[in-house]
């Protein structure tokens, strides 16, 4: 009866949702950024979730324990803001059965063009490339991340209560 392993699963979800919220924050902060280190405008970041690996959940229930996938995939380093550096600092091997961030991927669609020949970043045709970030989409994503975070935090509370109540047998 390994109850502490359960908390690892919920903890992986808390970490993943936090990364998602940080990516949303980076997107909203850089909604008007026209220049980045590699020259173009900021590109919207997406977080990709996947189920943390191992031999599948049934095997880990028996205690044979999956190996747990190694950390995160690598997106193009030049394009990544601070959020993805935070994500890779999370550490490898998420709990089997939990969730992990497979990668933080930059959006490849065309940037938004606005006509402003006076702008220092205007191209030869007078158009400035802006990131195509919709505040509403980002806010809805943030609400989803908050809701999921809260739910998994409730699960951690429940798991903690179970462990504490099992200690009462000793009394």
């Amino acid at each position: 009866m390994n109850l502490f392993g359960v908390m690892d699963i919920s903890a992986s979800a808390l970490q993943a949702e936090r990364v998602r919220a940080e990516v949303v924050a980076a997107n909203m902060a850089n909604a008007e950024t026209t220049r980045t280190a590699d020259g173009g405008p900021y590109r919207r970041q997406h977080v990709v979730f996947q189920e943390a690996g191992g031999d599948g959940f049934a095997a880990s229930l028996l205690g044979s324990g999956g190996s747990g996938s190694a950390g995160l995939g690598d997106a193009d380093d030049a394009m990544l803001p601070a959020a993805s550096r935070l994500a890779s600092g999370m550490g490898s091997a998420a709990a089997p059965g939990g969730v992990e961030v497979a990668g933080v991927v930059a959006d490849q669609s065309a940037p938004l063009e606005r006509y402003d020949p006076q702008h220092p970043d205007a191209g030869p045709d007078g158009y400035v490339a802006y990131p195509d970030i919709e505040p509403l989409t980002e806010m809805v994503d943030l609400m989803g991340a908050t809701r999921s975070y809260g739910m998994n935090a409730t699960a951690v509370q429940a798991e903690k209560n179970m462990v504490m109540s099992s200690l009462e047998i000793l009394k």
């Binding site: 009866m1 109850l3 979730f49 959940f57 049934a58 028996l62 059965g97 939990g98 999921s148 739910m151």
Partner: protein
């Protein structure tokens, strides 16, 4: 000398299943935003009767399968927050009930041990 009773063995199996249920619910909750993930579940009653029928030494695997009757969202995920919340509450209560029963079983054994001094 045997201090465990048949009841406490059965309760141990019950508690194991309740904690497995908890683990599965935690996994479903963790993957609520994972594209393509399907809710996993098992039948608590069936597993419990199997565990109680089997002899003490054999440890059969819990039969985990995809749950039917859940609607999928556009990204392929079919985890329902409400269902998982209910499962969480149920697993917690089942666990606490098992603990309370185990405690009373232990205190019965202790009373029997201390019977002479009464």
């Amino acid at each position: 000398m045997q201090v465990t009773t048949a009841t406490s063995d059965a309760l141990e199996k019950y508690l194991d299943l309740a904690s497995d249920q908890m683990k599965l619910t935690a996994e479903n909750m963790a993957n609520i935003d994972t594209p393509g993930y399907k809710t996993q579940g098992f039948s608590f009653e069936r597993e419990l009767s199997q565990a109680l029928d089997a002899s003490a030494s054999t440890q059969t695997a819990v039969d985990v399968a995809s749950v039917d009757g859940l609607t999928s969202r556009p990204d392929g995920n079919n985890v329902s927050m409400d269902r998982e919340g209910m499962q969480l509450a149920k697993a917690q209560l089942e666990f606490r009930a098992g603990i309370a029963l185990l405690k009373s079983e232990n205190s019965r054994v202790m009373n029997a041990i201390h019977a002479d001094s009464k």
